[in-house]
């Protein structure tokens, strides 16, 4: 695989003094011009990985090469090649967008004339031209993220790291940021390493997705390949009367293997695919089990996550601010 403008990671580990391994031996490769989506719930180790790959945090073990440079031994070279927008878009509220550009360019050692030109161009590109001379203190969350992205691009990086770039943003700001990221990768060949806790983001933006949970990569591949791996659709049902749950389980198990489901729900992955749905309905009817809810769903990345970790990511994505850890609390596996 091409690594000059890519990322190669082998056995990367980060331990913190108190607590478990935040990153517990991950391997991954990202090719030039690829958008790699790093998907996982809060606390999975996404940000820690980004901090190591961007030379902010030294790894406890393992190696990684970013743009062909070792992240430990060649930190300055790595930093020259990458642009980074971290989760907390750290901006100085007393500075304007243009002043941030000037500062960022200066820190990268870009001469003043070029810095001004590039800065204006980037500010324009992220749609902040009208606000360029206003202090950042008055910016909305979306404006801050866009400025942060523009700042990350000031030195023309070949690899871009975006740590949860859209967390906390409204739908509109989110899609406009996606468009910009896609444009960077497709038109300019920038490699993008993006972490997210949103399934939709990974699904629609990433060429390939790595799913991380408790510091380990549990699945990796293109979104389509991952979903295909899960393959068949799942039917999820709930009986009208709670006491029917055992009987309903017996019926459903004839059609496929049991899956984890929400409380008081049952789920099976259909052995023969969606064509079987009609048979499922007939069988329940024959057994005279009144049904409260019956749904069939095509596999999503959430199913992939569920299949690999036994937990859902969905809650976190739906609730937005709520952490995945909290929302999984309300899910419960039904004994099958």
């Amino acid at each position: 695989m091409e690594t000059a403008n890519g990322i190669e990671v082998e056995g990367l580990v980060r331990e913190f003094k108190k607590g478990p391994r935040a990153v517990d031996g991950i391997d991954l490769r990202v090719g030039e011009g690829e958008i790699y989506g790093f998907l996982g719930p809060n606390g999975a180790g996404k940000s820690t990985t980004v901090h190591m790959l961007t030379t902010l945090l030294p790894p406890t073990a393992g190696t990684a090469r970013v743009a062909g440079h070792d992240i430990v031994r060649e930190g300055p070279a790595v930093r020259d090649a990458i642009g980074v927008a971290l989760q907390e878009a750290a901006l100085d509220q007393y500075l304007t967008a243009r002043e941030h550009m000037r500062l960022q360019a200066g820190m990268h050692g870009i001469p003043k004339g070029e810095a001004l030109r590039r800065g204006d161009e980037l500010i324009d590109r992220v749609g902040l031209a009208d606000a360029a001379d206003r202090k950042v203190g008055g910016y909305s969350g979306g404006m801050r993220r866009r400025l942060d992205l523009a700042l990350a691009l000031v030195h023309g990086p070949r690899i871009l790291f975006l740590d949860e770039p859209t967390t906390g943003l409204d739908v509109q700001s989110r899609t406009s940021l996606w468009d910009e990221v896609a444009r960077l990768a497709n038109d300019e060949g920038v490699t993008v390493f993006l972490t997210t806790q949103y399934l939709e983001e990974a699904d629609s933006l990433a060429d390939r997705v790595g799913i991380i949970d408790v510091g380990r990569i549990v699945a990796e591949g293109t979104p389509d390949a991952l979903k295909a791996e899960i393959g068949r659709p799942t039917v999820e049902a709930a009986p009208l009367e709670r006491e029917d749950i055992e009987r309903m389980g017996a019926v459903l198990r004839r059609f496929g293997s049991p899956q984890r489901a929400e409380r008081n729900h049952l789920a099976v992955r259909l052995d023969e695919g969606s064509a079987e749905l009609a048979d499922v309905v007939r069988a329940l009817d024959a057994e005279q089990i009144p049904v409260r809810e019956l749904e069939i769903h095509a596999p999503t990345l959430d199913d992939v996550f569920l299949a690999k970790t036994g937990r859902r990511l969905e809650g976190a994505a739906k609730e937005g601010e709520e952490s995945a850890a909290e929302s999984t609390g309300e899910l419960e596996a039904v004994p099958a």
Binding site: H51, T54, T55, L56, L57, P58, P76, R79, D80, I82, V84, L86, E88, A90, L91, D92, Y94, L95, E99, R102, L103, Q104, A105, G106, M107, H108, G109, I110, P111, L151, H155
Partner: protein
């Protein structure tokens, strides 16, 4: 090669520019570093001038005596306040931006040091104007005065290095007392109120070993045009810088290791 157009120079300048720019747009932030020395000057030069009437106090002017003290004190406190700014940048995440953007991260310290010096120069101008207006006497030659400036600049640099070393180790504003207290201790155990031979008790012993003593005494000698032990003071200040460069550099390492 012009050091300011190297990558290191550009990065340091950009970081210094931000500090100073914020200072200009938000002048209240610099107020403490101006008022603090002025207040000490007023309280000491104004309130304690009777002390110079004590027998064996042989310095010609108490106001001049205290002016030099306040000059050196503000050199140190310029570094202390810069330390607060560094701690805040780490606490609120801005430092990450700087760590990511700079090729050579020592430019961070360089940038802060430039900002600290400019800030100190500003304070010195204000203090000097006030001191001259209230009766401080300058008898030294231009060379003597440049000597005082050199000592003060070196002291300022050493203090900035010290403060950045602490700030980068703790990376929170809560560490402010850990920056302030040692600075305060070193300032107050020097011959603040009276020449060293008039100090009584254990502080006299401490003052003998306090590096601040040499810089104060040399400064007070230079300003009346009777240089004494100037080289000692420059040497002491240089030694402090050498020690503190290491302290700041290891502090930067610690900050890097913590991410």
């Amino acid at each position: 090669m012009n050091p300011f157009t190297t990558r290191f120079g550009r990065a340091a300048r950009a970081i210094a520019w931000r500090q100073l720019h914020v200072m200009v747009t938000k002048p209240t932030l610099i107020l403490p570093s101006v008022i603090f020395p002025l207040f000490f000057f007023a309280a000491f030069a104004g309130g304690l001038s009777a002390v110079s009437a004590a027998p064996s106090f042989d310095y010609p002017s108490y106001t001049t005596f205290q002016y030099v003290f306040v000059l050196m004190q503000s050199a140190i406190f310029g570094g202390v306040f810069t330390g607060f700014a560094i701690a805040a940048d780490f606490e609120f995440g801005f430092a990450r931006r700087m760590l990511l953007a700079t090729h050579n991260r020592s430019a961070l310290i360089g940038g802060y040091a430039i900002a600290a010096l400019v800030r100190a120069l500003l304070v010195w101008v204000v203090v000097t104007v006030v001191a001259l207006a209230t009766g401080a006497e300058v008898a030294g030659s231009v060379g003597d005065l440049l000597g005082i400036l050199a000592i003060a600049v070196m002291l300022n640099f050493a203090a900035t290095l010290f403060a950045s070393g602490v700030a980068m180790r703790f990376r929170t504003l809560q560490a402010a007392p850990l920056i302030q207290l040692p600075a305060f201790l070193i300032i107050m155990t020097a011959p603040v109120y009276v020449p060293r031979d008039l100090i009584e008790g254990w502080v006299a012993t401490v003052a003998d070993f306090n590096p601040m003593t040499a810089t104060l005494e040399a400064g007070r000698a230079l300003i009346i045009g009777a240089p004494a032990e100037t080289l000692l003071a420059l040497g002491v200040a240089g030694g402090l810088i050498a020690v503190m460069i290491n302290w700041a550099r290891t502090g930067l390492r610690r900050a890097e290791a913590a991410g």
